[in-house]
């Protein structure tokens, strides 16, 4: 049974194909059943394969299924082969489960949209690409999935392409990702040059066996990581993710929170031997992760757009995952990815539910006091918020704590401190969100207020399920202080990397600090937004510059625009005016017109008269034979 795992990605692919071809003709009800059903089947197969994997002796890992040799040109060989090992299994389970719930949620959320079948086609296609990404057994196929999810992301961000901002956001995401992808592709090329194979097992062997030098490994690792910063929205390529919120909310939940953006973390974990081998690259990963975690959290403090807060929060949380990977605690990074998938998609879907209730309102300044109107959305949102804030006994607490403990144990105190700082901010901004949205005065417009209603069950049931997971998902990875045996997740994944151990006392202390930090953040938010609601605006007017900097997201977009976009445009205009118009266009037009001209001359002979045809024929014969004779 364990070899049916290769079917996992192809069920959604088949569904996407059917929807792409017949979608517009099928009834909506059927589309929903098929799209959700396909992902559910994938989830079922994932579970079956997962059980099969547990029964397989560990020395047989990973299970590989070679479907066929896709490209074989000299050195360059790429198989269409999928693999299933603990890492892939975890990812496949998370992707298919969260994917399924979000598909179901979308049935309600998108019910009135005219692009219904197109939406589900993209969503299924995305699920396929994402599963392909996490189950590929070589880096080339992984790149196919990587590009596939990028494409779907682009299509879905710009799903409402009539809206100018959506189309622009899609374009921005695409362009920024392209920078990362170029680096990623370079990394793949270097892998082929120096290792000669893109199979992950071969890469691990080559790195483990000392076939590559430290320098080469660092180069490859950094190039690949640049790709990851693009896809996973880290400094400096994070700018596209906040704008990506132009897409439908379930898409933000699935692609831009739970799955696609974490592909970079998966990639680093997958190639853990490479990053473990190159200390410099690992250091960079950790540092970028830590900086992003704090930096994005500061921006989340002052945003008023509910989805944008969550977007910055996602960037920040992925930063934590990279801290885990960077300090060698790949399991902790993956663990946070896994818990984050649940609580962040929960937060997004709940936010979607709020928007749904308020006829599409995004601005938190126009919300407030929604608690009593949304009896199901509020508690689920609250569970998600508690989980992300790092309150004990919720999943986010365990995973974040595992990362910070590892960072501390590794001796990376600076990074640990950044992480703690980020944690305060996280707790603060998420409860600011809660308080502004659900508590306090009702600031809605009256006509909006009349229509407030709780979402239909098809949307709330996924919320409840996700809330359950947001709470409970952490219990498979309990901290070491409670007993090494309890961390089932750790034992199952068994990723490389050395997780330094520290004494029980210090670990308890760290846990206490985390808890304290979480509550501090929550308390601050409570104080600012419930007890003394005038404080924030007072602070904003007292430190106008700081507020403005934060509100305007450190002016990075403006900086990028000025530094890269505008200079590129200016530069290209310059080149266009002086070089292109005159030299290239001259040459191209010259080529085109001369091509056209020669076509004209040649067609002159095609007069339609048989005598001319025969004459040409005869000339050909004379020249040909004449040439042969002499």
């Amino acid at each position: 049974m364990s070899d049916i795992f290769w079917l996992i990605p192809f069920v959604p692919a088949l569904s996407a194909l059917i929807l792409a071809v017949f979608g517009t003709k099928l009834p909506k009800k059927y589309i929903s059943y098929q799209a959700c059903g396909a992902v559910l089947i994938s989830f079922g197969i994932s579970i079956i394969s997962f059980i099969g994997l547990l029964q397989t002796p560990q020395q047989n890992y990973p299970l590989v299924k070679n479907l066929f040799t896709w490209i074989h040109a000299g050195l360059f060989k790429a198989n269409l082969s999928l693999q299933f090992d603990p890492l892939s299994a975890v990812m496949a389970l998370v992707v298919s489960l969260v994917g399924f719930l979000i598909h179901v949620y979308s049935v309600g959320y998108m019910a009135e949209d005219k692009g219904y079948s197109r939406y589900f086609t993209y969503l299924n296609l995305f699920t396929f690409s994402m599963l392909l990404l996490v189950m590929a057994s070589n880096i080339v196929l992984m790149f196919v999935g990587w590009e596939g999810v990028g494409l779907c992301s682009y299509l879905l961000i710009g799903f409402w392409f009539e809206k100018h901002s959506a189309a622009t956001a899609g374009k921005k995401a695409f362009l920024v990702n392209r920078i990362g992808d170029a680096a990623f592709l370079l990394g793949i090329l270097f892998i082929f040059i120096h290792i000669g194979s893109g199979e992950f097992t071969a890469i691990h062997q080559a790195v483990g066996g000392g076939a590559v030098t430290q320098g080469v490994a660092t180069l490859i690792a950094i190039l690949l990581f640049i790709g990851a910063t693009g896809k996973s929205a880290q400094i400096p390529l994070y700018v596209w993710l906040p704008d990506a919120m132009e897409g439908p909310t379930p898409v933000s939940a699935l692609i831009h929170a739970a799955t696609m953006v974490t592909a970079g973390v998966y990639m680093v974990s997958r190639l853990n031997s490479l990053y473990a081998f190159s200390a410099a690259a690992a250091e960079i990963v950790a540092l970028v992760g830590a900086l992003t975690a704090v930096y994005a959290a500061t921006m989340a403090l002052v945003q008023n757009d509910i989805k944008r807060v969550l977007a910055y929060s996602t960037i920040s949380q992925i930063g934590y995952m990279f801290i885990g990977c960077g300090v060698g605690a790949y399991t902790a990074g993956m663990f946070h990815l896994y818990t984050h998938a649940f609580f962040k998609s929960l937060l997004f879907l709940a936010a979607g539910s709020v928007m749904h209730a308020l006829s599409g309102e995004l601005d938190m300044k126009k919300m407030g006091g929604l608690k009593k109107y949304l009896p199901l959305t509020y508690p689920t949102f609250l569970v998600g918020a508690i989980a992300i804030a790092g309150v004990p006994f919720f999943s986010g607490f365990f995973s974040k704590d595992a990362i910070l403990t590892s960072a501390f144990a590794k001796g990376e105190y600076f990074i640990w401190a950044l992480g703690i700082a980020g944690a305060v901010l996280t707790a603060f901004y998420i409860f600011r969100l809660i308080f502004l949205t659900f508590h306090g005065k009702e600031r809605m417009k009256p006509q909006v207020k009349e229509h407030i209603h709780e979402s239909p069950p098809v949307m709330t049931i996924p919320l409840i399920i996700l809330a359950f997971f947001s709470f409970g998902a952490g219990y498979i990875g309990l901290p070491a202080v409670l007993g090494q045996k309890l961390n089932v997740f750790n034992q199952f994944l068994k990723l490389g990397g050395h997780e330094a151990h520290i004494s029980m006392g210090i670990e308890w202390l760290l846990i206490l600090i985390s808890i304290a930090v979480a509550f501090t953040g929550i308390f601050l938010a409570y104080m600012f937004y419930i007890l003394k609601p005038y404080v924030p605006s007072m602070m904003a007017s007292k430190y106008p510059r700081l507020y403005k900097v934060l509100y305007n997201k450190y002016y990075v977009d403006e900086f990028y625009n000025a530094a890269f976009v505008n200079s590129t445009i200016k530069g290209s205009e310059l080149i266009y005016n002086h070089f292109d118009l005159k030299v290239i266009d001259g040459a191209v037009n010259g080529t085109a017109s001369s091509t056209n001209f020669s076509g004209k001359i040649l067609s002159y002979f095609q007069s339609g008269l048989i005598k001319d045809y025969a004459l040409v024929f005869l000339l050909g014969v004379v020249i040909f034979i004449g040439y042969l004779l002499f």
């Binding site: 004459l615 004379v622 004449g626 002499f630």
Partner: protein, 115 residues
Amino acid sequence: MIELFLVFLVFGLLGVVLVFMNKLLGPKKPNPIKESPFECGSPYLQEGINPVPIMYYMVAFLFLLFDIEVVFFFPWALVFKEMGSTALVIMFAYIFVLVVGFVYAWKKGAFKWEL
């Protein structure tokens, strides 16, 4: 050999050049009478060729076809003795094909003079 080729080349090219020279240099004042196939300066009075009934060609074709095919009987007759029964089989196959053609022509009405 080279001289020979040169001769061919020179005169061949000369021919081509002259054809094009005519086209390029010759004055062109076309009128319908000039364009007509048998130009002699005065309008023609009637079609040059009186139509021959199409059946005439049809019969001529068929006659030619079957006549030529019968010619193949002569070499066959010469080697008939040496080849024995094989020759007979082959000839039957041959005649069969001829008969199919004959039936086809017949059914298509090729032998009816009046259409």
